[in-house]
Symmetry: C2
Subunit: 299 residues, 2 copies
């Protein structure tokens, strides 16, 4: 599958369940921090129409979609965006409606907010909206972005639950199918503050074909062509590669028992570092990141 | 250096700064959980004199040494130990005293409690007590155990501070010299509940010769001959091996900037799994662990 679109997945804001999940006035300053650091701005600048892009904010993941949508509107407007809409799909019926499809048809940027990723997959999965997003991502230079739950839902495999402290007990990490914008990857978010590396370890040991991607707070990945990934934001992206696992007790232990794993490969990516999903090669940021990305794209 | 002694390092109890740091009555049940699960019992049974062993509890790390010492007395007594003493060394002068050395001379088990590992190294480092411990560990079948700070201080390199969430910013993880009971290792504790894997990543990238060892709560390692390690307790031990790092930006970034690392090898050890520091080989627990350890010792 060709991917002409760009994908931006973001680990969520520091100290919050998901970006704009809490709409207190005192939270706004923190949110400004978040996008001032460049991640939300990057979503706009990566679109060829920049501030003139039609932006659709999908609030389906959230239980408080009006507040979340409103805050994204404010944030994008603050950053100069001139044409922002909120598409508050709450049911599969709405996700199949002609009006919804028309709005996605006209969008240049589609943003999935935080909330509960299982709402994204259970409400949107397999609908006309979902098919339209996949088709658009494949054939048009659209920018698709997701933060927190919106990021977790982008991969074809999706963690939707699992305690960080119990994450290495067999069966504790709950996985289902994501929206399939990126393959052979499983994305976890709020990775640093919630100490979630064990969740990725369990996800990866179950099928080492899948690369575990842990996104820190205020941190994301820009993914071009479905495989060239660049770390963006102030924090870290952790990659867990299980292809070289020598041994594990996974299939021999009962549910709830601790998992042993011999040989996981882990990478740590700060801003500007690049990873190529096709050849599994990491390039540590060293030059100006724009130079590096250009180099990578022409390689 | 020969090592006739055994070393047991323990990651600390769940939900507490260090085992017995809090002495509330309601905490006691939790502590019972901790040793009932076998780790404190294991300290006793690994000694050739078992419950008849002379046990010395070193409370130097703690700011509340009387309470901590008292609770260890109760715990070991509950487990049947018949000859337990608390050696509350608070100064370097006490650590150099003839009485102290005599008590270590007579001990079969020496236990370092939790607290602040920097107290252990700054008060005990280079004293007659420290030299006696090293000599005894080398030449006698003594059992030396440390929990939490007491575990962190056992390795020759020691993390004494560093926020979990900032752990991958250059310079955030503070390292000094430990007591040197085990070489080419750096031990971190309370590993799972405090989300500390970034601390080990930073410790290891600075010098990949050193193996990072992260001990979960209620979890430890029994180390025989200075190199054969067996995971004990209910949780997990994480090993971080940096020998295969391909690239990092560590020397090119400023203090406070995020570190990128290409290719860390990570192992996850549940109870019974073995790791050999000499040949860097992990054996996932599969047989009865006693059979495995016997097999490993005769290999």
């Amino acid at each position: 599958m060709e991917r002409r679109g760009k994908l931006i997945v973001i680990g969520g804001a520091v100290d919050k369940g998901s970006f704009t999940e809490k709409n207190d006035e005192k939270e706004i300053e923190k949110n400004f921090n978040f996008f001032e650091r460049g991640i939300l701005r990057r979503i706009i600048t990566e679109s060829e129409f920049a501030i003139n892009s039609r932006i659709e904010v999908i609030t389906t993941a959230s239980q408080i979609p009006e507040e979340v949508g409103n805050e994204y509107m404010k944030a994008f407007t603050y950053l100069g965006a001139l044409n922002v809409g909120v598409l508050g799909i709450k049911t599969r019926e709405e996700a199949n409606s002609i009006d919804t499809i028309q709005r996605i048809e006209n969008a240049h940027i589609v943003v999935f907010t935080g909330g509960d990723q299982l709402r994204l997959t259970s409400i949107l999965g397999g609908t006309a909206f979902h098919r339209k997003i996949l088709q658009k991502y494949s054939t048009e230079p659209v920018v698709i972005a997701g933060t927190s739950a919106g990021a977790a839902a982008c991969s074809n495999h999706m963690i939707y639950q699992g305690s960080a402290t119990e994450a290495m007990l067999k069966g504790e990490v709950k996985i289902t199918s994501g929206l399939g914008l990126i393959n052979n990857v499983i994305i976890d978010t709020h990775f640093v503050h919630r100490g979630r590396i064990g969740r990725l370890f369990q996800a990866v040991v179950g099928n080492p074909m899948v690369l575990g991607v842990g996104l820190g707070e205020d941190t994301g990945l820009l993914i071009i062509g479905g495989s060239k990934m660049e770390a963006i934001g102030s924090g870290l992206v952790i990659l867990v590669d299980g292809r070289f696992i020598n041994d594990t007790n996974l299939t021999e232990i009962e549910l709830g028992e601790p998992i042993s794993i011999d040989h996981l490969v882990v990478h740590v990516m700060a801003k500007g570092s690049l990873y190529d999903l096709d050849d599994h090669k990491l390039t540590v940021h060293r030059l100006e990141k724009t130079l590096l990305l250009k180099k990578m794209q022409t390689d």
